[in-house]
């Protein structure tokens, strides 16, 4: 049994919200999600593919996304993920808290000595 090191929690949470956001745009298969995140982040964020699928299964188990087999753009069978209603709610919450967090960090970093 693998025990994940504690610090992946933060990354994991970040990855989760990124996946949810990506899927909010359109349903997509796993590989597509990884490419889309990379592309949207202007190649800054490389999704560790090894953590992508566990994250997807976890989100599915939580009921935020659901999956369905379909045909990919090159006509291969692929599993497509899409956002559920509760996933959409979760995305809104996480986005808001992320923005608050980012703003807070920004304030701290911009602070200058009085």
């Amino acid at each position: 049994m693998t025990v994940l090191p504690a610090r992946t929690d933060l990354l994991q949470g970040t990855l989760d919200v990124l996946i949810l956001k990506t899927l909010a745009l359109s349903p997509m298969h796993g590989w597509g999600i990884s490419q889309r995140i990379q592309q949207l982040s202007r190649e800054v964020l490389q999704v560790n593919q090894g953590s992508l699928y566990p994250a997807l299964y976890r989100l599915e188990a939580k009921g935020w996304i659901r999956s369905e087999w379909g045909n990919s753009e090159n006509n291969r069978r692929a599993r497509f993920y899409e956002l559920t209603r509760s996933g959409r709610r979760q995305l809104a919450e996480e986005t808001e808290s992320w923005e608050r967090f980012a703003a807070a960090v920004g304030h701290v970093l911009q602070a200058s000595a009085p």
């Binding site: 049994m1 693998t2 298969h29 796993g30 593919q49 090894g50 699928y53 566990p54 599915e60 009921g63």
Partner: protein, 884 residues
């Protein structure tokens, strides 16, 4: 939570499909990645290598996927289960001993629970049965606790009750139903037309009685019980509409009942009150004191039992004021009461099955202690395996889970065997329960019982699986060292094993006391002087057809001819006709009388006795001794003065030191006088444990009974005479039914059967407990001896006397036994006081039983410890030292 369960469920159901999907998804990902890299200009091989490297271990991702989908836990459990099964197969001795103990412990509980569930817990098999009550009239002041009702009273209660939706009347009689090839005696429930609607029974075929079908002059109709329909008519589906002649009238079958408890009686058929020649007679209907029917009621919704009691008491009081001549005086504290039907159906079974439930509970505890002990011994031998696994990184929780899985696997297998055992013995248990309750036919191993079995199996596994893990050893190094299994590190476990022996001894002692008290009670019951001799007497029922033998003369003629015919038959020593005989179900009629010269003013203060009518040879046939005066003689005829014989109890009770011979009594206020001509010995009329009341024997020739029994003393096997008896009866009247042939010895054995079966059950449990406990003690001693071989070797080498070493081991072994006995003493007192209702003339603290059982247990425990300890005397010090 539910969604997670659904995901897990789906994963488990489609385990392979899930695996395949994960495979396919990851393969798709890799292919896309490789294509992307190729499009960027990498050659296929490089692209493939880079993609695989970036992706990481496919299996690792899959494992994570599995874990998220809950599969991992399942896999771990199934791995544990496989491991447990392998371990048990490797250890067949341990597995067999544990399985046998668990199967017995769980099986006994499942069997007894099936009775408890079938009889006490599940709802009554009547529609809305919880609201049904049985009514009775009582007069505690004069010792009447269950008087029936007269037809007049039935209509009064029906009209006046405010708390019952209605009342239905019932009584049971034997009638003769004429059919081929032989007339049949049928037990007949005589009921008001609303009876089946009131108790909530719907017919299986046809219909039950319609309102008004019990009105005088109605067409006689019959409803058959399910058992009778199956037994005597082969379940004929076209039975409805058939007619049978009974009591000189044609009766038409209108319906068949579903299976239901043999309550109030084991009736074959039911007829409305109008069809019963007794109940229908004018004398019955008009006399308020002709109390012969039972009354049932259904409580209105929302009405409490207390309200019903108040309501009935009000009606009873009103009737007593209105018709003072028909009711006892104030001092008798006459009233009417309701008893819930559930209580009436089950109260006799309660004490016995509570004791049995306690017993099997103890047996299960003992089984747990025993298996925990076996498991501990096994774990002591497995210390190195466990230490090794810990050293290799297995967590304590993981190891504990492994242990628990093993014990639950064991207990579930034991439970399965136990259910099979319970199924196999259910028939015996049902016939045992049928001695106490009419609900026995409802006992079966159904879903609730199986759920109970599953529950106690798992609970048992957890209990005996957790006990051994209490003293966890932490000294890994010591355990891994050579000889570590014998190092003194397992002290905690040894203490635990001693504690388990204490528990086993205590429980065994309690069970032994239970069985011992039952045995003492049974022995006392067998020692009772019955007052008559049971050897070589054939009994049979002989109920004359009321319609045919209406007058005394025709009955007398039939009975005298029958006795004359039988007297001449070879093998017949003597024959007698009697209303009933001792220990027969349904005792004699009880009635009041007056003694000449001692008039009483108040009707209810008249003396009371049991009356029964017997022929001349009755006392001789069953060997009731004549104590004074003379017995009944052929010269006592219808045209000579009436005579009677009384029992000793009555002679002492009413005349004490004076001579009762020559005194006269009357039952009809002096219209006829009956002279006492003799005194005979007492007999146990109503049961082994009940002293007889005052009894009066009337002469059959002067008062020929309608429903009677025939008793024949034979020279050889009494049952061989049944053909002779049958032919003699049919030779006089071919339409006369004669049945229920039993020997008096069978009747006696039947009276002893309930306590004997209870003793056998408790005895089996106690013996098993003793066996299991002695095996446990021997196991612990053997282990100790084996473990301390080197120490004993040193002692012997230094010159210790082998006997002293054995004595040392024995002393240590007997310490938990003595503590267990002390605890068992306390526990046994509790069990014994719960048993007191099952015991006859045996005190729950009976010192001989307690002494004898302590001695038995101590002796068995000493023997069990001595056998393995004896090995020490044969120990060669040198070999013992080297083997260390």
């Amino acid at each position: 939570m539910i969604r997670r369960l659904a995901v897990l469920g789906r994963s488990l159901l489609r385990r392979n499909a899930v695996e395949r999907e994960m495979d396919e998804e990851m393969r798709f990902h890799l292919e896309m990645e490789i294509r992307k890299l190729e499009e960027r200009g990498l050659d296929p091989d490089t692209a493939r290598t880079k993609a695989l490297r970036d992706f990481g271990g496919v299996d690792k991702h899959k494992e994570e996927g599995r874990e998220i989908r809950g599969l991992a836990r399942f896999e771990a459990v199934s791995q544990d289960v496989r491991y447990a099964l392998r371990g048990l197969r490797r250890n067949p001795g341990y597995a067999a001993a544990a399985l046998a103990t668990l199967a017995l412990g769980i099986g006994a509980n499942v069997a007894v629970f099936s009775v408890v569930h079938g009889v006490f817990l599940q709802s009554l098999p009547y529609g809305g049965g919880e609201r049904l009550v049985h009514l009775r009239q009582v007069a505690p002041g004069i010792g009447i606790d269950n008087a029936p009702f007269s037809p007049k009273e039935v209509s009064d209660y029906a009209a006046q009750t405010r708390t019952l939706t209605g009342v239905a009347e019932y009584h049971s009689m034997w009638f003769i139903l004429l059919r081929d090839p032989e007339p049949e005696r049928v037990q007949t429930g005589v009921v008001s037309a609303n009876f089946f609607d009131l108790v909530g029974v719907k017919p299986l075929l046809g219909r039950t009685f319609l309102p008004g079908e019990d009105a005088p002059g109605s067409e006689p109709a019959l409803v058959l019980s399910y058992d009778y329909w199956q037994r005597s008519h082969g379940g004929d589906p076209k039975i409805v509409g058939r007619t049978f002649k009974m009591n000189d009238r044609m009766h038409v079958v209108i319906g068949v009942l579903p299976p239901m408890p043999a309550y109030p009686d084991e009736n074959d058929i039911y007829m409305p009150t109008s069809a019963c020649p007794f109940r229908g007679s004018a004398a019955m209907s008009n006399d308020r004191t002709m109390r012969m029917v039972s009354l049932f009621g259904r409580m209105k919704p929302g009405v409490t039992l207390d309200a019903v009691q108040t309501d009935l008491a009000t009606i009873a009081g009103r009737l007593a004021r209105q018709y003072p001549e028909a009711y006892p005086p104030k001092e008798a504290r006459f009233t009417a009461q309701a008893v819930p039907l559930r209580r009436e159906l089950t109260e006799h079974a309660r004490p016995t099955f509570l004791v049995l439930l306690a017993t099997v509970g103890l047996v299960l505890l003992l089984a747990c202690a025993n298996v925990a002990n076996l498991t501990l011994a096994r774990q002591l031998r497995r210390q190195r395996e466990m230490a090794l696994r810990t050293a290799l990184g297995a967590g304590r929780g993981r190891l504990a889970r492994q242990m628990l899985t093993e014990s639950v696997v064991l207990s579930l297998s034991g439970g399965l065997l136990g259910v099979l055992l319970a199924k196999g013995t259910l028939g015996l248990l049902v016939s045992f329960a049928a001695r106490f309750t009419p609900r026995a036919s409802e006992i079966r191993i159904d879903t609730p019982v199986l759920l109970f079995a599953l529950g106690i199996s798992i609970a048992t596994g957890i209990v005996f699986g957790l006990i051994p893990s209490f003293p966890q050893r932490r000294n890994l190094v010591g355990a891994l060292q050579e000889g570590g299994e014998r190092s003194g590190a397992g002290v905690g476990r040894h203490r635990l094993r001693s504690a388990l022996i204490v528990v086993q001894v205590a429980i065994s002692f309690m069970l032994l006391i239970g069985a011992g008290l039952m045995l003492r009670s049974l022995w006392k019951l067998q020692q009772i002087n019955l007052g008559f001799k049971t050897e070589r007497v054939l009994t049979t029922r002989l109920d004359l057809n009321f319609s045919k033998y209406r007058d005394l003369e025709s009955r007398r003629a039939f009975q005298i001819r029958l006795l004359e015919r039988l007297a001449g038959q070879p093998g017949v020593v003597s024959a007698a006709i009697a209303g009933t005989f001792p220990l027969n179900d349904g005792g004699p009629q009880s009635g009041q009388f007056e003694i000449e010269g001692s008039p009483v003013s108040n009707a209810d203060m008249r003396p009371q006795a049991d009356f029964q009518n017997v022929s001349t040879d009755y006392f001789q046939t069953i060997r009731i001794p004549l104590l004074r005066g003379r017995g009944l003689a052929p010269s006592d005829r219808a045209d000579t003065p009436y005579v009677c014989v009384i029992n000793q109890t009555m002679a002492l009770h009413l005349w004490s030191s004076q001579d009762p011979i020559g005194r006269r009594i009357t039952v009809d206020r002096g219209e006829h006088w009956i002279q006492i001509v003799g005194v005979v010995g007492d007999v146990r009329q109503y049961g082994l444990d009940r002293r007889p009341p005052d009894q009066i024997y009337l002469a059959q020739a002067q008062f020929p009974p309608l429903s009677s029994t025939l008793l024949v003393r034979s020279a050889a096997d009494p049952l061989s005479l049944s053909r002779v008896v049958r032919d003699a009866v049919h030779g006089i009247d071919s339409e006369q039914a004669v049945d229920r042939f039993r020997t008096l010895e069978q009747v006696h054995a039947n009276a002893l059967a309930s306590p004997r079966l209870t003793f056998i059950l408790l005895g089996i449990f106690a013996l098993l407990a003793l066996l299991v406990t002695s095996a446990g003690i021997a196991g612990v001693v053997a282990f100790t001896v084996g473990e301390r071989t080197s120490e004993f070797g040193i002692r012997l080498a230094l010159g210790a006397n082998p006997r002293e070493v054995v004595a040392l081991v024995l002393r240590q072994a007997m310490t938990p036994v003595v503590i267990g006995l002390a605890l068992g003493f306390a526990g046994a007192h509790l069990l014994a006081s719960a048993m007191s209702r099952l015991l006859f003339e045996v005190n729950a603290t009976d010192p001989p039983t307690f002494l004898a059982m302590s001695a038995v247990l101590a002796a068995v425990a000493a023997a069990a410890s001595f056998l393995p300890a004896r090995r020490i005397t044969g120990l060669d010090p040198m070999i013992a030292l080297r083997s260390a």
